[in-house]
């Protein structure tokens, strides 16, 4: 199933024809506390979906930090660092997850929640 899904993702990226696919943004991506979103799932993919929903990172990018790099990066962390990063992203407001270059070319050195997973 994992191989099949990977194939689907690869095919999708080729079909898009662009360097970057933004992904749909959620209600809370913009506008401060008047707009809200359901709480993100406390998993690596759930945390990375929140970054996409918040317009902090793109869904898919050829050379930049995107959803798949986000999930892979969190999955490689030790358990306690994973907890910290995922909980931090889930609790954050969308604007606090955005950094210079967001959403297409985010500067990950400014992403405070990801810095908690640095090692």
């Amino acid at each position: 199933m994992v191989r099949r899904l990977s194939f689907v993702l690869l095919l999708a990226a080729c079909n898009a024809g662009d360097d970057t696919t933004d992904g749909a943004r959620a209600n809370c991506a913009q506008g401060g506390v008047l707009t809200s979103c359901p709480e993100a799932a406390h998993t690596s993919s759930g945390a990375c979906w929140r970054l996409v929903d918040c317009a902090a990172i793109p869904l898919d990018a050829m050379n930049d930090f995107d959803w798949k790099r986000c999930v892979d990066g969190i999955d490689k962390l030790t358990a306690e660092r994973q907890n910290l990063v995922i909980d931090c992203i889930a609790a954050s407001s969308c604007d606090s997850l955005k950094v210079e270059g967001s959403p297409d070319h985010p500067n990950t050195n400014q992403m405070s929640c990801l810095l908690l997973g640095d090692q």
Partner: protein
Amino acid sequence: MKKLIVVAMLIGSVAYADTDVPGLVKLIENQPADMDRPAWKEKRRDAAKKLAQSKDKRAVPELIKLAENETFDIIGETAIEGLGNLGDPSAVPTLQKIVADPARDPHQKDLAKKALAKLGASATAAPPPPDKTPPPPDKTAPDLVAPPPDTTTITTTTTTTTTPPPDTTTSLLGGQKSPTDVPPLPELADDTLASYERVTFAGGTADFGYDTLRKRLSFDADVAGSYAKRVEREKMAWGANANVHVVTGLVNDSGPSQQRGAEVVAQGSGEARFYSGQIYGIGRAAVGLQMNYISDVDMGGNSVKFTHTYGDVEVALGGGYGRLLDIGAQIRVRRLARALDNNRALGKPIDAATSKKLQLTWWALRAERSGYRQLVATVAILREAGILLSEPDAGLTYEILNVLRDTQLFVRPSGFDANLTFGEGYLDRPDNNSANGRVEQLLANAGYGAQLDDDKLEISGTAYARLRLFAPDNTPSPWAAGATARMTRFTYGEHGDPFGALDLGADVMLSSDDLMMSDKELRIAGELGFTYWLNQASGVRLAGQVAEDRGALFIGAQLTATYGLLDGTFAR
């Protein structure tokens, strides 16, 4: 005609004279040895009714005693009404105390006001209620499992009488509570359509670890709490909520690498609506504050340390149509009526006043871990109202308990609501954040809910749209719209055991970042899940999802557990 009146008066006099007041008083105060407690309680109520209708002034002291002490049982209400009918002014101070007592049931207070009106006395001239704090319990009293004595002797200035104590049960904290000693019921205006109060503490996770092999210390915690209250009245509605979320952690490797962080997020919002028919004007205000502290030292000894603060102050004004209510408590009353009807124990339909009294009693007792007092109070209310024909047997008691503990009756929307608002706000962000400064936006929200098939099928949905307006030059005006539809089938066992819920949902999101080279993005997602309920507001959920976003396909499955307990709700 005159003869007829005289005869009627004579018959009435004989009837009054036939009332055995001392015998009735004795029956109220002493449980006969050959009568079990439920039967005696019924007899006490009947005796109090006879005293209240007797027109015999000798009944007044006993009715005063009942009115003062029986704060929950229907016998107290019977006594209050009787004091009004008997016309004895010596009852006025007692009735005024009841009116002035904030802990009293509003219905009893209303009855006391009516009784005072019959006596020609004012309801507001009551002296302050005397301190009725009972003496501290005897520390040498029997342990928690020891039954209370059958009778308690009280001495008055004139006589020594025995009066039955209330049934007692033991609280979690070790104190003793009477099942009829319900905390003060929430005060709701007569035109209240629905109301709720929710308190949730989400413990999240907390981990601590250290080992001497790696000489490594780690700690992380994620805790959150929220409070929400809403009142829907015929002409207006208001709601407020606040939540705080704290995430903090430390990872200290044996080398130079060390990460420390803390994130505090606090938000509060309020909303007011003013209705004219189904149309309403709406005002909303929201504030938010977030603080992030990060200290990161990597393996090479390079360090990054900063503190960022984010602040939001926003208001929105607009209009809308309709109303979406949480009618979970009302459905609980309907399920209760069905359970009684199925057991041939429903004397008459549950009227609006009894429904309100039941819901507010459940609300007042919501924090109790045990359902014992909820059950006892529910049966008492139904018996008092003449709805429950007799004391419930074991089977019916079990089904009533199942209704009271039904986990599937929280947040059950009903109705349609849609609104459009213009929002103005100021967002304080760090310098590198593009959202810094003023923001104006158009916001639309809608919600729908319907409870079908004897409240076992729920159809619900929400929709939103936002558009940034008046963005400065070279600043994008992003927009987004989305909708969610959900169908939930609630399942029950043969005797009303809440079993679980099967749900099918679909989401669609459409948005644009309004950036150079960016397109409109569309995501469609579907979810099929089953939730198995563990206890009130707590459950385990297994769900499978499929999502498609710009040609990329995502398939997933989730197992989640939730815990919550402290909901209090009402819907007329």
